[in-house]
Amino acid sequence: MNTLLIAQNTFREAVRDRVLTGILVGGLVLLALTRVGSALAMGEDLRLTVDLGLSSISLLGLLVILLVGTSLVAKEIERKTIFNLLSRPLPRPVYLIGKWAGLTGALALVALVLGTALSLLVCVLGSSHHVPAIAQATYLAVLELSLLTSLAVLFSALSTPVLSALYTLGFFLAGQWCDDLRRLASHLPGGVREGVALIADVLPNLPLFNMRSLAAAGDMTGLAHLGLATGYAVLYCACVLALASAAFESRDFK
């Protein structure tokens, strides 16, 4: 119940934030701009629209996380509003989970709006068969953003907003290279290989949430992929939030 209340509050706060509105408007403008570029695309304009539309969901979501998510906890500490909350019988993990759920909800809303706008645009262009693939790609983008939000909450509970943003961005970059790192590991000698493979396992495997190349061609992914990606996102978020809770438990606000 408390988790829900904190999540609702965080969601409301995020939705009222001008950053979110600006990013949403920016995403819609970007979508409209793809139509301007279509004249130069030599018949590949639909692909351009789908690609850029899906990329904008993912990249603008990351921007929201970096601008809003990384200061979620730090801002409350700075304003001292956290004292009112934590002086009540509220377990600290509940507070963190609520923060994560609220921001994830706001990001899902942004993804839903942009995904719907993209689907409508694609339908207007006469390619409604792309819509299921766009829906799948948007769902995977929401999972990716929820995972990055959990990392932002972890760093926000431990550090300053600027450092949290840098750490989150670092994990995003490293997470994108996860598959490459795993392949590189297979070419390395014994001990080093195990070390590099372990790093690849610990980093968030973000390529798992990427089906933009399929969606650009109007192709759908299998249920196995969606199931594995969902399970992975749930477990990874749970792991990161548990780590955040462990770190937050020991934090003294006196």
Binding site: G37, L40, A41, M42, G43, E44, R47, L48, D51, L52, S55, S58, L59, F83, L86, S87, P93, F172, L173, Q176, W177, D179, D180, R182, R183, L184, S186, H187, D201, V202, N205, L206, P207, L208, N210, R212, S213, A216, A217, A224, H225, L228, A229, G231, Y232, L235, Y236, A238, C239, V240, A242, L243, S245, A246, E249, S250, D252, F253, K254
Partner: protein, 253 residues
Amino acid sequence: MSHPLSLPAMPLVRVRMALAWAAALVFGLGAVSLVRLATTTLPLRAPLAELAYYPSGRALRPASLGHAETAADLAWLRAVQYYGEHRRTDLRFLQLDHVFDVLTSLSPTFEGPYVFGAFALAQEGRDFAAAQRLMLKGIEANPRSARLAFELGFLHFVRPGGRDLEQAAQWFERAARLPGGPPQAGRFAAFARQHAGDLAIALLLWDDVRRTSTNPLLRDMAEREIGRLQKAIRTGRRQAAVKRLTTPAVILK
């Protein structure tokens, strides 16, 4: 009395922290197991291990941070601009091969650039070997693409300086066999075989067109060609069924 915001009694904090760490470990192990399962069960993306060492288009893929498709779209716009600029001015296409290599490495399933790039390389760029290489790269990445097979056949069919009808026919036949192949692939294959001098195979291909085509004009055409071929084979006058096709040339203005 302790401050309400100070830490609770130590043992309780330790218990909570231990529980949190244990939960993190369990969830983390679960996540690692799932991602390992995903890497072994889901289709592999193109291998990129060596890319860090090559300053080519392939190196751009990891650098695009998961947005290789968007990077490919931008590269496509740039490639079209590059082609247009040089087509309009000096007719020198020195970087065309590299531009399309970068683009198709970023997005191996993006079929448009293979076709456009190959024809531009073969005709304006006067580099048929590079054009063929680009198309074969596309077919390697998209072995089920009837469009690429057909276009490679057509590339051989209109090869500047001399048609390669045998190669053209082979690719047209492959395009006709693949699901979603262009309806004209069978007719092109039969035509290419016939004028390459493979009359027996051409006869079979035309017969296939006659039986399977839904277009009555095409069926009539197949009927005529079958008659011509049968007569040529019967009389031994092969030239009656084989036309001497003109040599394709490219005139750049």
